[in-house]
């Protein structure tokens, strides 16, 4: 009896131990999933919390006197003369008018810095749009300097010692006076969505990089999609099972895992130095990214073609179609949703890629919005990299905001892929 009870006690104890181990193991698993999701959450939280303020920008309302004698002294009416007028001076005069007590030269210079150096261009654009304003005094909202913007948004705190912040006590007093007057206000930041890069954070925008990304991806799509689909069809439907095919297959699988920076080296050595294509151009970037995404598209395409059941092919062959007709009239249309899904995922990968583009000179500082495939351009992820490296405080929020824009595009592309898969998926 005792023997038996000790035995069952032993078993019970070991069962307890084993069940505890079971619970622990399960907990580890849950912990791992929770950790991964927490990282995702933290990442998004960091980006959004740092970046949402960039969608607003501080503007200052200045009473500008558009002096006819300044703008068009000889009364010529020539827009070229108008464009050359000293608009910076008008903004300065207006600031002096708002704060007539400021007399010292250094203080005046600090005062002028409340408005962005881009204010002159904004005034010029206003005059070009409304020539009637010349000779009148009008209240105009112009972009404020990035330091003012940072102060208004609370990133530069007023309660630290004066020599440790970029806004002096005097400037703080001016800003407070302007705010009390209703002349300083945060508004939706249109510059961020319409401008190219700039050294001044308040004048920098993502539009140039977005246009560069667009042209680059257009080249990538135009090359990678037809080539990828053709290769997938050939390898899946036509290729004889021989050594060459095997070599090609191993090659494609390996190419998919080659570090992206190596493709950049290829682009630099072959496309730039050997063929002599232009540096920093979306054309070269697109070709490099096409080579990089090609394996993704081929692999996805082959999987999609493989999933079309053989009965479809046999039926078509039985009705007298040639092998090409079978593929192009029946198999490919049925496989298209899968092929497109793979293509979109490859394109999303290409949109987020940075390293190979650094190699072919797409990191240059480019202010102009690119208008074609051979204009110097940069792309969204490279713009993020460049801004992340900039020392100005205001670029931190702009970097995060650019990341939000990039992630927005990526999520849109991925949702399209999911939607395509859901809508056209067929169970055979």
């Amino acid at each position: 009896m005792t023997d038996r009870s000790t035995k069952s006690a032993k078993v019970a104890a070991s069962l307890r131990r084993r069940h505890a181990a079971e619970r622990r193991f399960r907990l580890y698993g849950m912990g791992a999933v929770a950790f991964a999701l927490a990282c995702l959450g933290l990442l998004f939280f960091t980006v959004v919390s740092k970046g949402y303020t960039a969608f607003q920008q501080t503007y200052v309302k200045l009473p500008i006197y558009f002096d006819a004698g300044d703008i068009d002294p000889k009364n010529s009416g020539d827009p070229k003369v108008w464009a050359k007028a000293n608009y910076q001076g008008m903004a300065k005069k207006s600031l002096r008018g708002l704060f007539p007590d400021v007399k010292k030269r250094r203080d005046k210079r600090a005062l002028y810095k409340l408005a962005s150096s881009g204010a002159a261009y904004e005034l010029r654009a206003i005059v070009r749009e409304n020539p009637d304003l010349v000779g009148t005094t009008t209240d105009v909202w112009v972009t404020a300097d990035d330091d003012v913007d940072m102060f208004i948004k609370g990133y530069i705190r007023g309660d630290v010692a004066e020599n440790e912040r970029r806004i002096s006590n005097k400037e703080m007093a001016w800003i407070e006076a302007l705010v009390a007057d209703g002349r300083l206000e945060k508004r939706f930041n249109t510059t961020f969505f319409s401008a190219g890069d700039s050294r001044e954070p308040e004048l920098a925008g993502v539009w140039g990089a977005a246009a560069g990304s667009f042209f680059t991806l257009l080249v990538t799509l135009a090359l990678a999609f037809p080539i990828g689909v053709a290769a997938a069809i050939y390898l899946e439907e036509f290729a004889p099972k021989n050594k060459l095919t095997q070599v090609i297959e191993i090659n494609i699988n390996n190419l998919a895992a080659v570090p992206s920076i190596v493709f950049g080296l290829l682009g630099l050595a072959v496309f730039l130095n050997f063929i002599g294509m232009p540096r920093s151009a979306p054309l070269v970037g697109g070709v490099v990214l096409a080579l990089m995404t090609l394996p993704t598209i081929i692999i996805a395409g082959r999987a999609a073609i493989k999933s079309v059941p053989p009965s479809i092919r046999e039926a078509a062959l039985g009705l007298g179609a040639s092998r090409s007709q079978v593929v192009f009239h029946h198999v490919l249309p049925l496989a298209m949703p899968g092929v497109l899904t793979g293509t979109i995922i490859g394109m999303a990968q290409a949109l987020g890629e940075t390293a190979p583009l650094l190699m072919i000179g797409m990191v240059a500082f480019i202010v102009d919005i690119p208008g074609g495939f051979t204009d110097p351009a940069t792309v969204l992820p490279v713009q993020i990299y460049l801004w992340a490296d900039s020392p100005e405080r205001a670029f931190v929020e702009r970097t995060s905001a650019a990341i939000m824009v990039l992630l927005g595009f990526l999520i849109m592309m991925n949702l399209t892929a999911v939607w395509l898969r859901k809508k056209f998926e067929r169970r055979w």
């Binding site: 399960r26 990282c39 494609i252 390996n254 290829l266 390293a355 190699m359």
Partner: protein, 466 residues
């Protein structure tokens, strides 16, 4: 851009497309005409005669365009050099390059590096004239080629002509060509890396490169400069790469594997339906975003923690870069492991349960051992990814090549050095620039070996339960 800018080239392509459409239409009609309205007497459907003629029209012109695009620049520059008046001609290739650059910039209306003299202006005008001429030649050549193609194709148009076989054969060859592009890419990578690396090893001995302990690629301009020793010992770079990749794997391997086990074996369907796409999002985030996260959030955080704990953590520590890289690789490891774990057949699990094992015992003692080759393959692929990862380390790891195993210090990696050596303008005869290609070759070979082993292991194992 002279005349051959995007818009005009696009216009040329549209014209070619229109011509091909016209060729298709007339080919199809001609076939019907030849058959006297009885399409049955034709060998192929009339569309195939149309496709045949369209291909005859477009292919030679496109071929001509490709040849032009590749060689135009060289030929124009060659002519320009030949035409430069003897006073400007230089024998030094570097100075000649500079001169050509100035001519190009002057022609494009950009700022140039020297005073504009009449000779230079004449050369620039000549250069511009050549560009215009070359574009006109291109347009005329393409039209002539497509015209000749149509004429030659037209001669063949007979009811007995096997148009379908011809078109299908053509498409077949195009598809073979597309498949071979992947091989050509690999070939191009190997050749360009090998070629530049060989030039590098003519300047720097391979022994120094592979075994040297000091890396400072700045070559001295004068002999008495102290800081610029121009040493190319790559060992600190390998060590740094390995350190950061190992830290990454220490995060990614356990978390990824446990996440995969939980998702495959335990997770309720609804949790799985939510968590799996979330992990896919984590995999789809661009690396530059992780780099930003590492450099601006994680690294300062670690430095603060270190300061609070009383020891120094560099703001470019290997730890921060490694951990963020680990987070990036988690979904990669978990999705690969998930695949192999779910591929283990039900019968193995049932056998284990029948013998009284708990679920975790079954997983640890039956499922994981059965899936081990696949998991190892996945981990190897992940490791190769960590080694080749660029943006995170460029943004969050250091530039100084410290030879250390201390994760709190800054180290540099192979990819960081490639990027720093090649960003900006480079001259292609300095060891500094060429070193990047030697590093690239090394990176390529390392990841290739890892990938080949991993793919072999994964493939070999996958077949066992099918």
């Amino acid at each position: 851009m002279g005349k051959a800018d995007d818009v005009t080239v696009l216009l040329l392509m549209v014209i070619l497309l229109g011509l091909s459409a016209w060729a298709f239409h007339s080919g199809r009609r001609q076939a019907l005409v030849l058959s006297n309205g009885r399409a049955r007497t034709l060998h192929s459907l009339p569309e195939y005669y149309g496709f045949y003629l369209a291909l005859c029209c477009a292919t030679p012109a496109l071929g001509g365009f490709v040849v032009w695009a590749v060689f135009e620049q060289q030929i124009i520059e060659w002519f320009t050099i030949a035409a430069i008046s003897p006073g400007v001609r230089l024998d030094d290739p570097a100075k000649l390059d500079l001169l050509l650059n100035d001519i190009r910039n002057l022609a494009n209306g950009n700022i140039i590096s020297r005073a504009v003299d009449p000779d230079l202006q004449a050369a620039a005008d000549y250069y511009l004239g050549l560009r215009d001429l070359s574009f006109v030649a291109l347009a005329a050549g393409m039209l002539a080629l497509s015209g000749a193609g149509v004429v030659l194709g037209w001669v063949n148009l007979k009811p007995a002509f096997r148009a379908r076989a011809w078109v299908e054969q053509f498409v077949h060859f195009v598809m073979i060509g597309c498949s071979i592009i992947a091989v050509l890419t690999t070939f191009g990578i190997v050749m360009s890396l090998l070629f530049e690396s060989l030039r590098f090893f003519q300047m720097v001995s391979p022994i120094e490169f592979f075994f040297g302990l000091e890396w400072s690629p700045q070559t001295a301009l004068r002999d008495d400069q102290v800081a610029s020793s121009g040493r190319f010992g790559a060992v600190p770079l390998f060590a740094g790469t390995l350190l950061i990749s190992l830290i990454a794997m220490c995060i990614a391997a356990p978390v990824g594997l446990m996440a995969a086990i939980y998702m495959a074996e335990y997770a309720p369907v609804r949790l799985r339906a939510v968590a799996k796409p979330m992990l896919e999002i984590l995999a789809g985030i661009p690396t530059v975003v992780y780099g930003f996260f590492a450099a601006l959030t994680v690294a300062p955080l670690f430095r603060e923690w270190g300061a609070a704990g009383g020891f120094l953590i560099s703001s470019e520590s290997a730890l921060a870069a490694g951990i963020v890289m680990g987070i990036m690789i988690i979904p990669f490891v978990s999705s690969l492991s998930d695949d192999v774990i779910t591929a283990v057949p039900r019968s193995l699990r049932d056998g284990s349960f029948g013998l009284g094992a708990t679920k975790s015992e079954t997983i640890r003692k039956v499922v994981i051992p059965a899936a081990l080759p696949g998991i190892v393959g996945g981990l190897l692929l992940a490791m190769s990814r960590a080694i080749g990862e660029t943006m995170i380390v460029v943004m969050a790891a250091g530039l100084a090549a410290n030879l250390t195993a201390n994760p709190f210090q800054a180290v540099t990696t192979v990819t960081v050095q490639i990027v720093t050596l090649l960003i900006g303008d480079q001259e292609f005869d300095s060891a500094k620039t060429l070193a990047a290609f030697a590093l690239g070759l090394l990176l390529f070979c390392t990841t290739l070996v890892l990938n080949v082993i991993a793919l072999y292991v994964v493939n070999k194992y996958r077949e066992r339960y099918d």
